[in-house]
């Protein structure tokens, strides 16, 4: 196979951007993606088989048959989980990765989110740390992501957002939903600062694609009219258009190959026909999301790196985190449902920081439209789970409920981790990821506080009944998975440097949520995208021509 300058593993939020930036700079690039290239045709509007409700399987991969993981429960019992089962902590397996089917909130982290340890101090039992980079370092790249991928919304009424040079490229979706209007008035009465959530979704025609048509099959689904912006319909087509980039789908990376000098020489992978192939490259970019990226590094064992790449000090796979979602649901006398998608549209950032006695917090927003089966599991604790009363509750309240929730920024825990399982292997014989650990107790304290604020918001909005939703102590990860290849200046307490390069190997980069030191009180995707632009700029700047050997 022809030698290339860079092989990018994973065509998601991070990998898609790196591929495009490098290809446009003249690098020859190969992207290996384990999933398929799905399109708007694959929308399907299937409420039991999509990326959010997976009782009949994952809509955008991976499949159940070939990609098991091992999960260690809090009581120490182990079980093998299928990709569509709870506890698997799935993101996606397809071109675009999570960006194909996400809800598409496009948050910039706040300045404080990069300096969590300095501001709050580290609680006992956590590895809370500052990032080696600041918001100011990333600001131009946040802007680039907002304009190249495409973001709508209006953060100007939010006094807490970090300084920015330009407004968002598209206005918010209009008209606002009924929920939006009810919640906006209530937040203003409380003295809070509501605004339109920034979303990677076209509110007007943009980048040659149409505006959102406001349907209810949004989060978890491929957009039927291609108005949701991900790497699959922006940067990846641009990368391919340069002529310098080749995308190989249904290719599963086995390991990064290391030469006798301790540099990466390429990737061994199984192609769509399950044949083992080798792609040599000058640079290897790992963008498989926090769980699979850690797994790949740990599975890349060699004489010089017996514990895997980047793992000299046992930090690869550590600090797995996501978000501790918490909030409240309220019931209303009037109908709140207006069938106007995507649903989530209004947020407040009044409680991200500055909460007395707490280290951080979360933004709060209304939830995406809840399809009928999703509402089944969102009853108050006293409603029976079956029978007449349950049915009656569904009938009476489905169209008269609002849910407010927020992604609480988690205190990283060293023992919340990804390992490779010593016994269980996937379809190709590659050791699978083994997940274990729990949330930090302080994270749950923050959850209780944020859930109270959510409840307060709903009560002010006129809810006649409310109840809180607070997560359990188990491991976090899921679609917001992050933290497993921490970015830092000290090689002894991190995996990659400030430009995402693995400390002890000068031609391997990790570019995805893995490098996040902390995960913000926000959906992380725009930060992943900004870091991908930031790391790409560094790679291009430092490039001194081909240095690897075939």
């Amino acid at each position: 196979m022809k030698h290339v300058n860079a092989v990018v593993i994973g065509a998601g939020a991070g990998g898609g951007i790196v591929a495009k930036e490098l290809a446009e700079a003249g690098f020859s690039v190969v992207i290996l993606e384990r999933g398929k290239w799905l399109t708007a045709y694959d929308c399907r509007k299937d409420d039991l088989r999509n990326q959010r409700t997976t009782v009949l399987g994952n809509g955008a991969g991976p499949d159940d048959e070939r990609h098991p993981r091992v999960v260690v429960e809090l009581d120490g019992t182990e079980r093998i989980v299928r990709a569509s089962e709870p506890g698997y902590h799935n993101n996606a397996a397809c071109v675009g990765g999570g960006t194909l089917t996400y809800g598409a909130m496009a948050w910039r982290f706040m300045e404080q989110d990069f300096r969590m340890r300095s501001i709050y101090g580290c609680p006992e039992g956590s590895t809370l740390e500052d990032w080696p980079i600041t918001y100011q370092d990333l600001e131009p790249y946040y802007e680039k992501a907002e304009y190249e991928i495409g973001v709508s919304g209006d953060v100007s009424p939010d006094p807490f957002h970090a300084p920015r040079r330009k407004p968002l490229p598209m206005p918010p979706l209009s008209p606002p939903t009924r929920e939006h209007e009810i919640l906006k008035a209530a937040a203003l009465r409380l003295g809070w600062h509501p605004f339109d959530i920034p979303m990677l979704r076209n509110s007007v025609p943009y980048n040659g694609r149409p505006a959102c048509m406001r349907c209810r099959w949004c989060v978890g689904f491929v957009c039927e009219v291609d108005a949701k912006n991900g790497t699959h319909n922006t940067v990846i087509p641009k990368a391919l258009a340069t002529g310098n980039c080749e995308l190989r789908t249904e290719c599963v990376a086995k390991e990064i190959l290391v030469d006798s000098q301790g540099r990466a020489r390429g990737v061994a992978y199984f192609d769509a026909n399950d044949r083992l192939q080798t792609q040599t490259a000058d640079l290897v970019v790992v963008s498989c999301a926090a769980i699979e990226s850690a797994r790949l590094l740990l599975n890349s064992k060699s004489r010089l790196f017996p514990n895997g790449i980047g793992n000299r000090y046992d930090w690869v796979g550590r600090n797995l985190q996501g978000h501790s979602y918490c909030g409240a649901i309220g019931l209303f006398e009037e109908v709140t449902y207006d069938d106007l998608g995507p649903g989530a549209s209004i947020a407040i950032c009044d409680f991200n920081h500055g909460n007395k006695g707490l280290r951080g917090g979360a933004m709060l927003a209304n939830e995406f439209i809840r399809l009928p089966y999703q509402f089944v599991g969102r009853m108050p604790p006293d409603v029976p789970r079956w029978g007449r009363a349950h049915k009656d509750f569904m009938r009476r309240w489905y169209r008269r409920s609002i849910m407010v929730q927020g992604p609480v920024q988690e205190m990283p825990v060293f023992d919340a981790r990804v390992q490779v399982d010593p016994k269980v292997k996937d379809y190709w014989g590659i050791p699978v990821a083994r997940l274990s650990g729990r949330k930090h107790p302080h994270t749950l304290e923050i959850c209780r506080f944020i859930a109270e604020k959510a409840e307060l918001w709903l009560k002010e909005a006129g809810a006649i009944r409310t109840w809180k939703r607070i997560p359990g102590p188990g491991l976090s990860g899921g679609q917001h998975q992050a933290g497993t290849c921490r970015m830092g200046n000290d090689p002894k307490t991190s995996v990659v440097d400030r430009y995402c390069r693995v400390h002890d190997m000068d031609n391997v980069y990790v570019v995805d949520g893995s490098v996040h030191v902390t995960n913000g009180g926000f959906n992380p995707v725009l930060t992943i995208m900004a870091i991908a632009y930031w790391a790409s700029a560094h790679i291009i700047r430092e490039w001194r021509g081909r240095r690897g050997r075939v």
Binding site: L48, Y337, D339, P372, Y373, V376, W386, G387
Partner: protein, 178 residues
């Protein structure tokens, strides 16, 4: 990949079909997985979970069809759970009332279900979840007949917007035939 998965699925479906044929009870049997007696029990169970009132219940919505269909597909791993769970539930009812679950009065059934513990309760939890899926989920999966639950909730039905999936080749061949 899915090639492999599918062909295995097809093989298993074919194999169990062959078994049905061999045991000689295949012809009159309306269900893919359940025996007639099991089906009676499942229908009664689902109706307990979502009973008919002014709106249709699980029986009217064809929830059993959803469960039966997916026990031969995505839920294949639950086949033994259903087979054993249904047998044990009926055994329990025979001990307590001398009759099978489906033969009990509605209130008696409710009382039995409320008293379940251990593995039988776990089995019932699984049936609850599958029933909710079959009742509130998309009709394409075999339940929610005529979208009865969506009508009950007042959710607009899925509109046809020109991207509904249809097989262009099938239309062509039909045209060619006429």
């Amino acid at each position: 990949m899915r090639k492999r998965g599918k062909s295995r699925r097809r093989f298993l479906a074919a194999a169990s079909g062959a078994m049905v044929a061999l045991t000689g009870c295949g012809a009159a049997r309306p269900w893919r997985f359940f025996t007639a007696e099991e089906a009676e029990t499942v229908i009664a169970l689902c109706e307990q979970i979502i009973p008919a009132d002014q709106d249709p219940g699980a029986t009217d919505a064809g929830v059993i069809n959803y469960i039966d269909r997916h026990l031969m597909g995505h839920f294949r791993r639950f086949q033994p759970v259903y087979r054993e769970g249904l047998a044990r539930l009926n055994e329990l009812c025979r001990q307590r009332h001398g009759r099978r679950f489906a033969e009990l009065k509605f209130e008696e059934q409710t009382a039995v279900l409320e008293s379940l513990t251990g593995d039988l309760k776990k089995f019932f939890d699984l049936v609850i979840d599958h029933t909710m899926q079959g009742f509130y989920g998309d009709p394409r999966h075999g339940g929610n007949r005529d979208a009865v639950s969506w009508r009950m909730l007042g959710v607009p039905l899925i509109p046809v917007r020109g991207r509904e999936h249809y097989d262009l080749t099938a239309i062509k061949s039909k045209e060619a035939g006429t």
